[in-house]
């Protein structure tokens, strides 16, 4: 197992393509938390986010031979998860359903307490953190994606460029504009 941990993602996916299921389990362990943090910022619902991350891994499992080592495994899996998240958001818009987190804070008279999921509690405990999440949520989709990828997931500009299939220059300018939008939204916090 220690030997498996030393392997790169690309080596693991190659082993999985050759039929080693343990390599797939190792990839799941490496990426499940990273992806939940990525997807949750889009959906703002832990259950939906877990379902979507499961779907992402199922897609990787079913389409393992679609991966070619011309790109990093991380960019491939983030692309799959990002596409699924965006498509889920589009579906939600069509359905026009509203969850608790979709309500404004004035409407949100009580906070649902889930003892099994302390993580969500931690996220909403800090007022500033809460406001930042709200501000990210209200960003236009391209800005939201870029902020999540760059400032929360801390991916490189190169990886983001591959995931979003846009030139590196566009990535940089979009990151800058998205940050300025966030700063503008949150400036009242310091007044």
């Amino acid at each position: 197992m220690t030997q498996v941990n030393l392997k790169t993602d690309e080596e693991l996916i190659a082993e999985f393509q050759a039929g080693n299921e343990n390599a797939f389990v190792e990839l799941v362990d490496r990426y499940k938390d990273r992806l939940i943090n990525f997807v949750y910022r889009f959906l703002n619902d832990m259950t939906d986010a877990e379902d979507l991350v499961q779907e992402t891994f199922l897609k990787v499992y079913k389409n393992k031979h679609a991966y070619r080592e011309i790109a990093k495994f991380s960019t491939w899996i983030y692309t799959i998860a990002g596409n699924l998240a965006r498509s889920e958001l589009r579906k939600r818009k069509r359905r026009k359903t509203y969850t608790m987190s979709d309500l404004s804070y004035a409407d949100n008279e009580f906070t649902p307490v889930d003892t099994d999921k302390d993580t969500e509690g931690i996220v909403f405990n800090s007022y500033a953190g809460e406001e930042i999440l709200k501000a990210i949520k209200n960003l236009a989709e391209p800005f939201k994606t870029i902020i999540i990828l760059r400032d929360i997931q801390e991916l490189s500009y190169e990886d983001i460029s591959t995931i979003l299939d846009i030139p590196m220059g566009t990535v940089k300018s979009r990151v800058n504009r998205a940050r300025l939008k966030l700063q503008e939204t949150l400036s009242y916090l310091r007044e």
Binding site: V28, D29, V53, L58, V123, G129, R179, Q183
Partner: protein, 177 residues
């Protein structure tokens, strides 16, 4: 109040923070920030926002996440095995064989018994039965009616006899009383 230069300087903030600007551009931003309080404030606040973003707590999947995923994959594998079986060449060959057998059976049936095809209400082998049940040419249709009327008379006679025997039984019962 921001002017065009302010807008241009703000566009450089990300790279300025990451120290990836050219020396000339970096010096231009430095000079502007020293002179423009509005841009300096934006830059300072941007730093605070980015620090907060880094401090956002990280989430974790539930403990059962991997187990649930692997169970779903197992289910997926079973489904794909069935799907492969369904689409396998052996299954296709078996299907062709059954179809060919049915065609041959229908063809033979038509060849042996062509009447049943033209008149589906008749049972198979009707032609053979018809030959054996054919009425002799010598008997006329009237003769058939006569013979059937004779049969009717015979059955009436039998009924009368049974009624008579019934009344006799009744008489015997009355006598014994």
């Amino acid at each position: 109040m921001q002017n065009n230069e302010c807008v241009f300087i703000c566009e450089q903030f990300t790279e300025y923070r990451e120290n990836t600007l050219s020396i000339e551009l970096k010096s231009q931003v430095d000079t502007h920030l020293a002179a423009c309080s509005s841009c300096a404030k934006v830059f300072q606040e941007l730093g605070l926002v980015l620090d907060k973003l880094k401090q956002l707590p990280t989430l974790s999947t539930t403990q059962e996440f991997t187990n649930i995923l692997m169970a779903r994959i197992q289910h997926l594998d079973q489904e794909s095995v069935l799907h492969r079986m369904y689409n396998s060449s052996y299954t296709r060959v078996a299907g062709y064989a059954i179809a060919a057998g049915l065609i041959v059976a229908i063809g033979l049936n038509i060849w042996i018994d062509p009447v049943s095809l033209s008149n589906p209400d008749r049972s198979p082998g009707y032609a053979v039965q018809q030959q054996s049940n054919q009425i002799p040419q010598s008997k006329s249709f009237a003769g058939q009616i006569d013979s059937s009327s004779d049969k009717t008379e015979d059955s009436l006679k039998i009924q009368y006899k049974s009624i008579d025997s019934g009344s006799q039984k009744l008489q015997l019962v009355n006598d014994s009383e």
